[in-house]
Amino acid sequence: MSTTVAAAGMTSTGEAVQFWLLGTVAVVGALSTVLMRKAVHSALSLAGTMIVLAVFYLANGAYFLGVVQVVVYTGAIMMLFLFVVMLVGVTAADSLKETIRGQRWLAGLCALGFGILLIAGIANASLKDFTGLGQANSGGNVQGLAALIFTKYVFAFEITGALLITAAVGAMVLTHRERTERAPGQRERSQARVRAGEQLPPLPAPGVYARHNAVDVPGLLPDGTPAELTVNPTLRARGQIRDVSGEALQELAALEQRSAEWVEGGRTEGAKEARK
């Protein structure tokens, strides 16, 4: 990590190497954020990109921001994302098939045009002379920021605080569900179940027959087919059920064959013993 004071004009070779390596990582991370089918993967790619950006902040002399980026963004915000992804459904893989006609083409076209224009704008600007932060950071980066925040930007700071509190309250209000009636007790629930005509007795247990006593193995019905009710619906949704119906029959057949062989073998063994 290059913590050297960012010099004016050109950067050091070390920083250049770092930029090209980590920059590639950041772009790849950004692309996979966009292109990954599962939201979890997107979140993880984004976290990677953010860490790379934190490094770049440090390289640009923003030490405080680099740390904050790691702590707040990668640590807090991305974790919040992950929580919500869990809440909403980890497995809910996005279908990448586009439903709006022409949307992908239009989006691509706009992005391309926008990117080209933006880069052209940057290239057009005369940005040759970098002052560097040597002087600004001379009293320490954090001290410098603090001096600005509590003097020049104090009102913005206060208002941001108010915004944060409002956001916290807002999030609570949005996710809080007011219960307007008494919670249903056991009696009500059972009555509702009977009325709905659902499964009344307890669900059958999975993994019966003592061969596979795991929760991901459905119990078998007398004809050897798996009973769907015996496994957790979450596992079913994830497709993490092991179907052992065919296996069981095969193993039964194998067992019978083996026992027949054993009986046969025992007989021959007995004959040999008798001959002796």
């Binding site: 920059g23 979140a43 919500v84 989006a107 940005l127 932060l133 600004a136």
Partner: protein, 99 residues
């Protein structure tokens, strides 16, 4: 290397994020792409701070982070409540804009 490359990177990341917003349908992923765009801006701000030799750009980036945090909190809360009522996080399913 000229530090202006950071700006090119920021522009690239911003564009990728914007394209993601347009292409993805999962509201959470869209939100992540928005975050990506915000981070690209932050990178640009930090680079500008280095360009100008003062810390104001960093301050702006700092505020952006705070605001982004507030935004994420609210946005995710909205997504959760939408998911609760609709059992879907797809933005296309929330098609009430059209009669």
């Amino acid at each position: 290397m000229n530090p202006v490359n950071y700006l090119y990177l920021a522009a690239l990341l911003f564009t990728i994020g914007a394209a993601g917003v347009l292409i993805r349908r999962n509201a959470i992923v869209i939100f992540m792409c928005v975050e990506l765009m915000l981070n690209a801006c932050n990178l640009a701000f930090v680079t500008f701070a280095r360009l100008h030799g003062n810390l104001d750009g960093q301050i702006i980036a700092f505020f952006t982070m705070v605001v982004a945090a507030a935004e994420v909190v609210i946005g995710l809360a909205i997504i959760v409540s939408i998911f609760r009522s609709r059992h879907s996080a797809s933005v296309d399913d929330a098609g009430l804009l059209k009669l």
